[in-house]
C-alpha cells in the first residue's frame, strides 16, 4: 500500500482540549448573551422609569418603597394635567414641533437633493467652485455660531416666529455632499430615457430622479425630522415667547420652573418622546442607513 495514511498531527484529546471546545461552543455565546441581556435591561431602564412615573400618583412617587408599577394607572388624569397646565402650553409646543420637524423633513432633503443632483449631473462651468463653497461651510461648528446667527435672524424679524426657528436649519451642506455622491452613481439610462421622452432637466429630476432616490431621501429626511424635533438651543434662543415654544422648551420649563408635579412632568416626557420612538422603530431601516452615511463625515 503506497498510500499509507499520513499521521495527522491531531492534538491529544486531553481534558483541557475538551474544556476549550466546550467553552468555545457554548460558554462564550452564553456569556455574550448574558452580558447583552444585562446591558439591554440597563438601556431600557430609563424608558421604564419614564412610563412608570408618568402613570403613577404623587404619593406613590414620593414613597420610600419603590413602586415598580402602580396598582392603578393614571394615564388620563396625568395626561389632562399637562394639557391643562397654563404656564407651559404643551399643546402649542407639540404643534410647533410638528410643523418645524415636518418642514425640515421636506425642505431640508429637497434643497440638498436638488443641489446634489445639479452638482453631480448638470455639466456647467463653475460647478466645482460651487461645490467647494458649499463644502467649506462645513468647517464651522453649527452650535457655536448661534449668537451670530441670532443676530442675523433678529435683524430679519425672525425672533418669536416659527420661520425663524425653521429656515436657518434648512441648508445642510453635508447632505448636499451625500446626495452628490449618490447621484454620481445614478444610472445614466434612466436620464437618457427621460431625454428621449422629451423631458427637460427639471422634468427628469422631478419625474424620474426623485422617485428613484426614495431610500436616501427617507434616510436623511427622517434624521432631519428627529434632529429638529429634539433640537433645544436654537429654539430656546429664537422662541422666547410661549406661543413659539417647542415641545423641548416646554419640557425644559417643567424641569426648572417646577410648577407641576413629578408624574405630570414624566407624562410630558412620554408625550414628547413617544412619537419619535414610534417613528424610529417603524423607520429604523432608513435611520440606520442615514447614520451609516453620517459616519463618513469628518
Amino acid at each position: 500500500m503506497a498510500s499509507a495514511p499520513m499521521a495527522q498531527p491531531t492534538r491529544p484529546r486531553s481534558r483541557l482540549y475538551e474544556w476549550q471546545r466546550f467553552a468555545y461552543r457554548y460558554l462564550g455565546p452564553a456569556l455574550r448573551y448574558i452580558v447583552l441581556i444585562a446591558l439591554a435591561l440597563l438601556f431600557l431602564f430609563p424608558f421604564y422609569l419614564m412610563i412608570r412615573t408618568a402613570v403613577i400618583t404623587q404619593p406613590e412617587v414620593a414613597s420610600f418603597d419603590w413602586v415598580w408599577w402602580p396598582q392603578e394607572t393614571h394615564w388620563r388624569e396625568n395626561l389632562e394635567g399637562i394639557f391643562n397646565d397654563q404656564t407651559a402650553p404643551m399643546s402649542v409646543g407639540l404643534r410647533n414641533s410638528a410643523i418645524i420637524a415636518g418642514a425640515n423633513l421636506l425642505l431640508q432633503t429637497l434643497f440638498a437633493s436638488m443641489a446634489g443632483y445639479a452638482l453631480a449631473r448638470l455639466p456647467v462651468r463653475g460647478s466645482s467652485l460651487v461645490f467647494f463653497l458649499i463644502l467649506s461651510t462645513l468647517m464651522v461648528p453649527s452650535a457655536v455660531t448661534f449668537i451670530p446667527s441670532y443676530v442675523v435672524v433678529a435683524n430679519l424679524g425672525g425672533v418669536n416666529t416659527l420661520w425663524g426657528i425653521i429656515v436657518p436649519g434648512l441648508f445642510n451642506a453635508f447632505a448636499v455632499f451625500l446626495f452628490r455622491q449618490f447621484y454620481l452613481d445614478f444610472p445614466v439610462e434612466i436620464e437618457e430615457a427621460g431625454r428621449l421622452d422629451g423631458l427637460s432637466h427639471a422634468g427628469i429630476y422631478w419625474r424620474l430622479v426623485l422617485p428613484n432616490s426614495i431610500g436616501v431621501l427617507a434616510a436623511l429626511g427622517i434624521l432631519s425630522f428627529i434632529n429638529s424635533w429634539n433640537a433645544f438651543l436654537w429654539p430656546l434662543v429664537i422662541g422666547q415667547h410661549p406661543s413659539s415654544w417647542t415641545t423641548q422648551i416646554v419640557l425644559s420649563t417643567y424641569i426648572t420652573a417646577q410648577t407641576i408635579n413629578l408624574p405630570y412632568m414624566f407624562m410630558g416626557a412620554v408625550v414628547g418622546a413617544l412619537p419619535l420612538v414610534i417613528v424610529f422603530l417603524v423607520m429604523q431601516r432608513y435611520i440606520v442607513e442615514g447614520v451609516r452615511l453620517s459616519g463618513i463625515k469628518g
Binding site: A257, V277, I296
Partner: protein
C-alpha cells in the same frame, strides 16, 4: 472630506477637483439655467444663515455691542482680551476639556464594545441593535428630565438613592459589600446634583450623554465591522492568530481605522458643543441659574453673555475662540490619524 470607502460610499477620487460630470454632451443653456435654479436655494440659504452670520459675528466681536446687535462702535480686540481675562470663561474651557476627556474615550470604548457584542451574536442581532439604538430618538431635554428628576433627584425616593438603600442596608448585599457600597458613595442620601464636593454631578452628566449617543456610534462601528473582509479573519487563523485579542489587535482595529477616526471626530465635535444637558440638569430657563456654577460649559457661558447680559460683542468673540479651537483640534486630530491618506 476625502474620506469614504470604508463605509460603503462609492469612492470617487478626490471630490474637489473631479469635474462635476463628464462633459460628453455639448453645452446646453437649459442645463445651465437648471443648474443655477437647483443650487440657488442652497447658496442663498448658506450665504444668509451661515456666511453672513460668520462675517457679521466677526465684525460684532470687534465692536462694543451691549444691548445692541448693530455695528459701528469699533473697539478692536478688546472683547477678545476681556473674555480671555475672564476667569469664568477660562473655567468653562477647563470644564469642557475635562468633559471631553471623559466622554470621548468612554463613548469610543462602549460603542465599539456594543458593536462587537451585537455584530457577532447571531440570533437576536436585530433586537439588541434596536435596543441600544433607540435612545438616539430621545432628546437631551427628555433624558435630562429622567436623569435629574427620576434617577438622581437626591430624595430618598429617587431611584439611585433607593437602590443604594436597598443594596446597602435593607436587605443589603451580603459579605459586607453593601457597607462597602455605602462607604463609597457616602451613605444612601446622596446629593447627586448640587454639591461641588464630591462632584457626583459629573456622573449624571456623563451617563446621560453616554446613554443618548453610544447607540449612534455603535451603528457606525457595525457598518465599519461589516466592511472588513471575512477572508482576513480566516487568513489570520491560518497564520496562527488564535486568541480573540490577537485578531482584534491585528485585524479588527486596523480595519476600523477610518471608522474610528470618524467616531472620534464626531463625538469630539459634539462634546465640545455640549449645552442641553448642562443647561437642563444643572440650571434652567428659570431666572435662578440653579447649580449652573458647578460646571458651565462654554456654550452655556456664551448663552448667558448674549442673552442675560446682552453683550453680543463679547458673546461673538467667545464663539470665534471656540470655533477656532474646534477647527484646530479637528485638523490636528486629522494630522495625527493621517487624514486623507489611503487606508
Amino acid at each position: 472630506m476625502a474620506k469614504r470607502g470604508a463605509l460603503g460610499i462609492a469612492a470617487t477620487g478626490a471630490a474637489l477637483d473631479a469635474p462635476a460630470a463628464p462633459t460628453r454632451r455639448r453645452r446646453d443653456h437649459s442645463a445651465t439655467i437648471t443648474f443655477w435654479l437647483f443650487v440657488a436655494p442652497m447658496i442663498v440659504g448658506l450665504g444668509l444663515f451661515t456666511i453672513l452670520p460668520i462675517v457679521w459675528g466677526f465684525l460684532l466681536s470687534l465692536s462694543q455691542a451691549r444691548n445692541t446687535i448693530s455695528l459701528g462702535n469699533w473697539v478692536g480686540l478688546q472683547n477678545y482680551v476681556s473674555i480671555l481675562r475672564d476667569g469664568e470663561f477660562r473655567e468653562s474651557m477647563v470644564t469642557i476639556v475635562l468633559f471631553t476627556l471623559f466622554i470621548v474615550p468612554l463613548t469610543f470604548v462602549v460603542s465599539l464594545a456594543l458593536a462587537m457584542l451585537v455584530n457577532g451574536v447571531g440570533r437576536g442581532t436585530g433586537f439588541f441593535r434596536t435596543v441600544f439604538f433607540i435612545p438616539t430618538a430621545v432628546s437631551y431635554v427628555v433624558a435630562s428630565l429622567v436623569w435629574r428628576m427620576g434617577i438622581f433627584n437626591g430624595l430618598p425616593s429617587g431611584f439611585a438613592n433607593w437602590l443604594l438603600y436597598t443594596l446597602g442596608e435593607e436587605p443589603g448585599l451580603p459579605f459586607g459589600l453593601g457597607q462597602l457600597l455605602l462607604d463609597f458613595f457616602g451613605g444612601n442620601r446622596v446629593v447627586w446634583i448640587g454639591t461641588p464636593d464630591p462632584p457626583w454631578y459629573w456622573l449624571v452628566l456623563v451617563t446621560v450623554r453616554l446613554w443618548l449617543q453610544v447607540g449612534f456610534y455603535m451603528i457606525i462601528f457595525i457598518a465599519g465591522l461589516q466592511e472588513i473582509p471575512r477572508s482576513l479573519y480566516e487568513a489570520a487563523w491560518v497564520d496562527g492568530a488564535r486568541t480573540g485579542w490577537n485578531t482584534f489587535r491585528y485585524i479588527t482595529l486596523p480595519g476600523l481605522r477610518n471608522t474610528a477616526v470618524a467616531v472620534l471626530l464626531l463625538s469630539f465635535i459634539a462634546a465640545f458643543q455640549a449645552f442641553d444637558e448642562f443647561f437642563n440638569i444643572l440650571g434652567g430657563t428659570a431666572a435662578s441659574t440653579g447649580n449652573q456654577g458647578l460646571a458651565r460649559p462654554p456654550l452655556v457661558y456664551l448663552y448667558r453673555a448674549a442673552f442675560t447680559d446682552q453683550d453680543y460683542g463679547r458673546g461673538s468673540a467667545g464663539a470665534f475662540i471656540l470655533t477656532a479651537l474646534i477647527i484646530g483640534v479637528t485638523l490636528i486630530q486629522g494630522r495625527i490619524f493621517g487624514f486623507g491618506r489611503k487606508a
